[in-house]
């Protein structure tokens, strides 16, 4: 399984781009006007500007530095400094597989094997940064290799782990449909304290 949760649907409205990362790979995650979600390398091929600082117009992502516009497959469609030029096909942003299921946005840096993890009847609650590695959190729950942990508890919690650095990750939490969000949130805060305090 190489799908990694990189955000929640509720945090990415139409026409918005946000920065994200999977380990050392920095990503620009954006949603087009028609609702499609994409995960791209967070670097404009022109002069290296972060695309997560850019803006969405219709179904294209534009870089904030010189306004180069990239269409949904990542290829450059328009260079404002040269309005009459058709940009060569060679100018394109590296793109990654991206999927959105049950309110979770997933990306895969390598060709994904199969579908993203089934969240079954749960729904997303919130994303929470934690000052531990994803590996350490998985080990804490005795599931060392996993990035999708089905914890159970009163709320039937599942945690989708987004590895960021050796000391930091983002936990995307899901819980049973009927669960009280505030109660789940308190449970998560307590978990974060436990995790961060158990750091070596």
């Amino acid at each position: 399984m190489n799908w990694i949760a990189v955000g929640l649907k509720q945090d990415l409205p139409l026409g918005v781009v946000i920065p994200s990362r999977i380990e050392d790979t920095e990503l620009a995650i954006w949603r087009s006007a028609s609702g499609e979600v994409r995960a791209w390398s967070d670097r404009c091929p022109h002069r290296g500007m972060r695309l997560s600082h850019g803006f969405v117009r219709g179904n294209a992502l534009s870089c904030i530095y010189h306004g180069w516009q990239y269409s949904e497959n990542g290829s450059c469609a328009y260079i404002p400094a040269h309005p009459k030029l058709t940009p060569p096909d060679t100018i394109c942003v590296p793109t990654y597989d991206c999927a959105e299921t049950d309110g979770v946005i997933w990306a895969a840096l390598q060709k994904p094997l199969g579908a993203p993890p089934a969240v079954s009847s749960r729904r997303p609650v919130r994303s929470m940064p934690v000052a531990r590695s994803a590996r350490a959190i998985a080990a804490y729950f005795n599931a060392p290799q996993s990035t999708f942990l089905e914890i159970g508890s009163d709320f039937d919690v599942a945690l989708a782990l987004q590895p960021c650095t050796a000391a930091h990750c983002v936990v995307h939490a899901l819980a049973a449909r009927g669960a009280d969000r505030k109660a789940v949130s308190r449970w998560l805060e307590a978990l974060r304290s436990d995790l961060e305090e158990s750091a070596p």
């Binding site: 091929p45 022109h46 290296g48 500007m49 904030i64 010189h66 404002p80 400094a81 309005p83 100018i91």
Partner: protein, 278 residues
């Protein structure tokens, strides 16, 4: 560090801002600067005096033996100009990226929206670029761009003509159509102090024909522009300037940047540059 880096002049302070001795960085090393009996001085970390000169409102020094005198800007001496010390902005980027951004006009509509540029006026016409071999400088001329408010003294949109000049690896001079005086050029410079390869202090300085604006207005106009540039410069990947082709994709609008990178390579100036594609 190499002679190619050491033997240049670098700005390290605004002369009017020097009072008590203070520490700063130059090319990754600590230096101290101050003023005794009216004369400014700079010392290296070991306390040895470095060569200094005062020009364009700033104090300049060199850790090596500069192979030539600090460049001149003769036009700045013509009477009637107001000389504006803008102050400084610290930026987490390569000093070379800061200079390259200053040479770029295609970003005006997107970064300095409704001030130095605005959509749909985004086209960059062909202009002339050359490396002037006699003086060993990069020059771009006949650069034209439509601007909604080209300067504090401009009211309404005009097509502004520019000339750009790179007289030293971390310095650039811009000559720009002057709204109140057709036929003359306003002068705006960017003097960059390389603190390290990925951190710099930018000292803009201006010599303008502008009788209408107050000094504070001219300073804050230019500071606004540089704050907008900083939001770009701190978010380019990599932080260093790639000198080898392949990592970035220049177009015709980037001819000044292409010439600047080529010239840096030619003179062997690699401080703040990335040489192999990462």
């Amino acid at each position: 560090m190499t002679a190619a880096t050491d033997n240049h002049w670098y700005p390290v302070a605004m002369v009017s801002g020097i009072d008590a001795p203070r520490e700063t960085w130059l090319l990754g090393k600590k230096i101290t600067l101050g003023r005794d009996n009216g004369a400014c001085w700079v010392r290296d970390a070991a306390g040895n005096p470095l060569t200094v000169t005062e020009r364009f409102g700033h104090l300049w020094t060199s850790p090596g033996q500069p192979n030539r005198a600090l460049f001149t800007i003769p036009e700045a001496d013509t009477p009637g100009r107001r000389l504006v010390d803008v102050g400084s902005v610290r930026v987490k980027c390569s000093p070379l990226r800061a200079v390259e951004n200053f040479l770029d006009i295609a970003h005006f509509p997107f970064v300095h929206t409704d001030i130095l540029g605005a959509e749909p006026h985004t086209e960059v016409d062909r202009y002339d670029v050359r490396i002037a071999e006699d003086v060993d400088e990069v020059w771009a001329t006949k650069v034209k761009f439509f601007q909604p408010q080209a300067a504090k003294s401009a009211s309404g949109g005009i097509t502004t003509e520019y000339m750009y000049r790179v007289p030293a690896p971390t310095c650039a001079v811009l000559y720009k159509t002057c709204p109140p005086r057709p036929g003359e050029w306003d002068i705006i410079t960017l003097f960059v102090q390389p603190l390290t390869e990925e951190w710099c202090e930018v000292w803009p300085w201006m010599a303008l024909y502008d009788d209408a604006s107050t000094m504070a207005e001219m300073v804050s106009f230019q500071q606004l522009i540089f704050m907008q540039d900083r939001s770009i410069l701190e978010n380019q990947i990599p932080r260093k300037l790639p000198l080898d082709p392949g990592m970035e994709v220049p177009t015709q609008a980037d001819m000044t940047s292409v010439a600047y990178r080529r010239w840096l390579k030619k003179i062997g100036y690699t401080y703040g540059a990335q040489l192999v594609a990462a």
